[in-house]
């Protein structure tokens, strides 16, 4: 094995090589079959790592507040920390100039902070979700051929769904094609799903029933806007545009290469209050699909704590199944 080439192979897989270095690697690969085999063995290790870790066959490391990884602490319920960190991040980014191309972009970053802070102040919001288009039809999965996969019920449609969100808690109401309501939610401590029939499912994990929500897998959940906005800070290039009225503005976020999430997000908001009137997501990942969807503010209101509990959304005689 040629050990000196290994850093180039790793660099190639991580996207760290220059075009000239990539060409050097290609030349080395073409020079001898054993070179190509060394490369294949390295890629197989890389690919198996992905498979082992993505299927959660191994316990995932849990960052601790006592470790050197403050940026990875959970954000839910840590608004004070988030605000201090946000301010520090903006100062650092301004000082270094990393990732931001000009004064208008800096203004956009400040407006993002304004929006995040406003979400913390607002009592609660109700949004209507509209799926505007799918960038491609649903894929046929290989295992769709098996009877077991086919027997699973289809996901309730997102189009026309209503999401109630307040400080990390949410209730999402979707209507099935039969006209029945399929409701999922979280009170911040636990999560639950109330299907039209069968037992009510409850999990002690607050994000357990986020699985079929677009954006969930890329930390851009539609149900907790403030968390989603936090993700824009590092992963997106931001700019400001005029809004539909003189009192409104539009924040445009376009994804940087190497990050995951929707390609583009347009946020219309009232400048004075930071209240978000609508969000439009382009190419929002949703399983094998990419959706273009928008969320329009229907109303703002305070919610009773009990609203985010499953018991508010089904009859008392329903069976509860704890997962």
């Amino acid at each position: 094995m040629n050990a000196s080439i290994q850093p180039n192979i790793d660099g190639y897989l991580d996207g760290m090589l220059s075009p000239a270095e990539e060409q050097q690697l290609a030349d080395w690969l073409a020079a001898a079959p054993e070179n190509a085999e060394q490369f294949a063995a390295a890629v197989m290790l890389h690919d198996r790592l992905r498979m082992l870790l993505i299927t959660a066959e191994l316990p995932q490391p849990v960052p601790s507040a006592a470790t050197d990884w403050p940026g990875l602490q959970p954000r839910v319920g840590r608004w004070a920390t988030a605000m201090v960190a946000a301010t520090a991040a903006v100062i650092l980014l301004f000082a270094s100039g990393v990732g931001f191309e000009g004064r208008s972009v800096s203004a956009a970053v400040l407006q993002l902070d304004h929006l995040i802070a406003a979400q913390a102040r607002l009592p609660g919001s109700r949004y209507l979700i509209t799926v505007e288009s799918r960038s491609r039809p649903p894929r046929q999965h290989f295992f769709d051929q098996t009877p077991d996969w086919k027997s699973r019920p289809p996901k309730p449609p997102l189009n026309g769904a209503i999401v109630h969100a307040s400080h990390g808690r949410f209730v999402l109401v979707r209507t099935t094609t039969a006209g029945e309501q399929f409701i999922t939610g979280s009170d911040g401590q636990s999560s639950w799903a109330v299907a039209p029939e069968g037992p009510v499912r409850v999990s002690s994990r607050p994000d357990h029933f986020n699985h079929d929500l677009p954006g969930h897998e890329h930390d851009m959940p539609l149900t907790t806007l403030a968390e989603g906005l936090e993700q824009l800070r590092a992963a997106y290039v931001l700019r400001l545009e005029d809004g539909p009225t003189p009192t409104h503005r539009q924040l445009i976020a376009e994804k940087r290469r190497g990050f995951r999430g929707p390609q583009r997000i347009a946020i219309d908001y009232e400048e004075a209050t930071g209240q978000i009137d609508s969000l439009r997501f382009n190419e929002m990942p949703y399983g094998p699909e990419r959706l273009d969807l928008r969320m329009d503010l229907v109303s703002t209101s305070s919610y009773d704590d009990s609203f985010f509990s499953h018991s508010s959304h089904h009859s008392p005689e329903r069976t509860i199944y704890e997962e």
């Binding site: 996207g15 197989m44 959660a56 990875l72």
Partner: protein
């Protein structure tokens, strides 16, 4: 489902890891790889009746994968592949050979991963679970992209050493 299709499905289950690795070698991005892998799986199943059982299945599946990569790049991506068609063919042969002779030690990977320290597992988690590139990991952790890339290199080196050591131990003694 006829016997030929059943046989192809069974063989595909065994071949999928190497086809997945081959696609990763060409496209690198895990999410793009997943998209193409699904296309390949569907094409393999649809072409089951055309598979000649006297020929190696992996080579046949890798051929389908090459076609799917070409088509995907034509339809979705503007930038060209790093490796040209001839080299891609050589790589397909290399993957087929490595699967026969060198893939077994990877079975030790799970044990070796458990030996990584907290920092190594954290970086691995961000790279492989979240699919982040070194630049994105660096932003998350407040490091420089080159430092993250170097850390990933060291992690893989440690894992390779661990796998080889375990493989050597498990080989029958003469």
């Amino acid at each position: 489902m006829n016997t030929q299709t059943e046989q192809v499905m069974r063989q595909w289950t065994l071949a999928q890891p190497v086809v997945s690795s081959f696609l990763t070698a060409l496209v690198r991005d895990f999410s793009t790889r997943d998209d193409i892998l699904q296309d390949v799986a569907v094409a393999v199943l649809e072409s089951a009746s055309r598979y000649d059982p006297s020929r190696p299945f992996i080579g046949w599946a890798l051929g389908i994968a090459r076609n799917k990569v070409r088509r995907y790049y034509r339809q979705h991506l503007r930038e060209p592949l790093v490796f040209d068609d001839e080299l891609t063919g050589q790589l397909a042969v290399a993957f087929e050979r490595v699967t026969k002779h060198r893939s077994q030690p990877l079975d030790h990977l799970r044990d070796c991963l458990r030996r990584l320290d907290g920092r190594g597992r954290m970086i691995c988690g961000l790279r492989y679970t979240e699919g982040l590139k070194p630049a994105a990991i660096a932003m998350r952790l407040g490091m420089r992209p080159n430092s993250v890339a170097k850390a990933l290199q060291r992690i893989r080196e440690r894992l390779r050493d661990c796998i080889e050591a375990k493989a050597a131990l498990s080989e029958p003694q003469p």
